[in-house]
């Protein structure tokens, strides 16, 4: 199908009108990903079409050639974070940068959804990457990478929360940070909408909803990230939805009454 001679064309993404991403170039072969076809091509052969994201959405292909990375992990359909993480562990700065750019918005949104101030979320994001960098050896190839990131992010957030509680106890400034849905000066942003939407929920339910519905993780991945069972995650989601239904219905009723009075 495709040969090494096509590498330059592949680089430019000009083969067959498909948008392509080169995953690995070996001594005599090339592996790449076709975005439109959601397909992995290996040594010029179509390995398999990637299923829509179900379960942990992970596909594993082993290769014996020593010139190649031995295993490619491809997370479909929108990213190959596991493979980037493996290369980050091997000291590849390009992979590290790609991860920072790819994962940071999700983590930042996760923090913003839990906190009132965007500057706090910035600090937490930096702190999270500091921890990620220190403990990057604990990620193991073949495991889904998002739960690993989120587990560390949760740890950082809890640390921050406790630190904030101590600071507040000293400074007696209790009202500023304690309410997740506190108003933020300046222009309203999408993350603020999310925060407002999830504001009635307790923290444990809010983070589960954020991971499941906003970050697009599976139940299994959320369970891994929160160090709980899938059953516990389902229970939290169920309770969160019940609470959201009640709150939104109450808000709708109030708006209706105001409209009637006007």
């Amino acid at each position: 199908m495709f040969s090494l001679g096509d590498v330059e064309k592949l680089r430019s993404g000009a083969v067959g009108g498909l948008e392509l991403r080169i995953i690995q170039i070996g001594t005599n072969s090339v592996t790449f990903w076709s975005f439109q076809a959601n397909t992995l091509w290996w040594d010029g052969k179509r390995v398999r079409p990637c299923r829509p994201r179900t379960g942990n959405g992970l596909h594993e292909h082993a290769h014996k050639d020593k010139d190649w990375i031995k295993t490619i992990y491809l997370m479909c359909p929108d990213s190959n974070l596991e493979m980037l993480m493996a290369r980050y562990q091997e000291g590849d700065f390009a992979a590290a940068t790609a991860l920072v750019e790819g994962v940071s918005p999700q983590l930042h949104r996760f923090f913003v959804a839990q906190l009132a101030r965007r500057s706090d979320a910035d600090d937490l994001l930096q702190e999270t990457w500091l921890r990620i960098h220190r403990v990057r050896h604990t990620y193991r190839s073949g495991e889904p990478v998002l739960p690993w990131f989120y587990a560390i992010a949760r740890h950082v957030r809890v640390d921050h929360y406790r630190k904030a509680m101590r600071t507040r106890a000293h400074e007696q400034r209790l009202t500023e940070i304690s309410t997740p849905a506190a108003t933020v000066s300046g222009e309203a942003r999408p993350a603020d909408d999310l925060r407002d939407l999830l504001a009635p929920l307790p923290e444990s339910q809010r983070e589960v909803i954020e991971m499941l519905k906003v970050a697009g993780m599976s139940l299994e991945e959320v369970a891994r990230a929160t160090s709980t069972s899938v059953g516990s995650v389902k229970q939290k989601v169920h309770r969160a939805y019940r609470k959201l239904r009640e709150t939104m219905s109450a808000m709708g009723n109030r708006k209706g009454q105001r409209g009637g009075q006007a």
């Binding site: 920072v100 918005p105 500091l130 495991e143 739960p147 999310l194 160090s227 239904r245």
Partner: protein, 244 residues
Amino acid sequence: MTDREIDEALKRVSQTPHAVEPELLGRIAGSIKASLQPVRRLPPTWTLACGLALTCTAVAVAGAVRAGFYGIEKMSLVQRALIFPVIGILSWVAATEFVNTMIPGSRRRLSPGALLGIGSVVLVGVFGLLFREYRTDHFFSVGMVCLLTGLLHAIPAGLLSWFVLRRGFAVNPTSAGLVAGTLAGLAGVGLLELHCPNFQAFHVLVWHTAVEPVSGAAGALLGWVLHWGRGPIAEASARRTPIS
């Protein structure tokens, strides 16, 4: 308001792009670059769990070598065939869970509390089934000696377990301490079964079994103190190592 409407509201929010300041991303990438080197990955879970189980077995056997194998010598074949495999299985489960607590994003099959509870109940069940001598002599004085002996051997088992998993990262240090304490406590129980020749049912049920929950609680407390309790030290340390 229906679930579908909530789903749609969340979907709308999730589809909105969320940008992070490029300068911030640049700073993060720059700080990573400064110390980016290949790292040695952790071994597979089963390798680490084997290491932990062997460590705990070694501590229990070494303690029994020093104190004497009076307990196992006095046991019947059925008692030996049931007690030690049960302690072995519980130790393996605890070791696996300890490895999982030290690797972020790992699949958790048991919560630390459930592990401690199930371990204690199983030990009580097995001991209650096998020891039928309901007389009690010197219940507290002899029992306290056994409890302290078990806990004294749980300490090296816990320290060595921590050494085996020193490259791990506990996202919840209290849970990790609880699981480590449970594992170390099982090493202490193993030692008592090898050594203690007192087969009075209440002695074994209360004082031998107690080593596991007491050790687990001590581990949880230690994890909490080392992490959450050191507030000012942790804050000072964090201030010393900012991301540039």
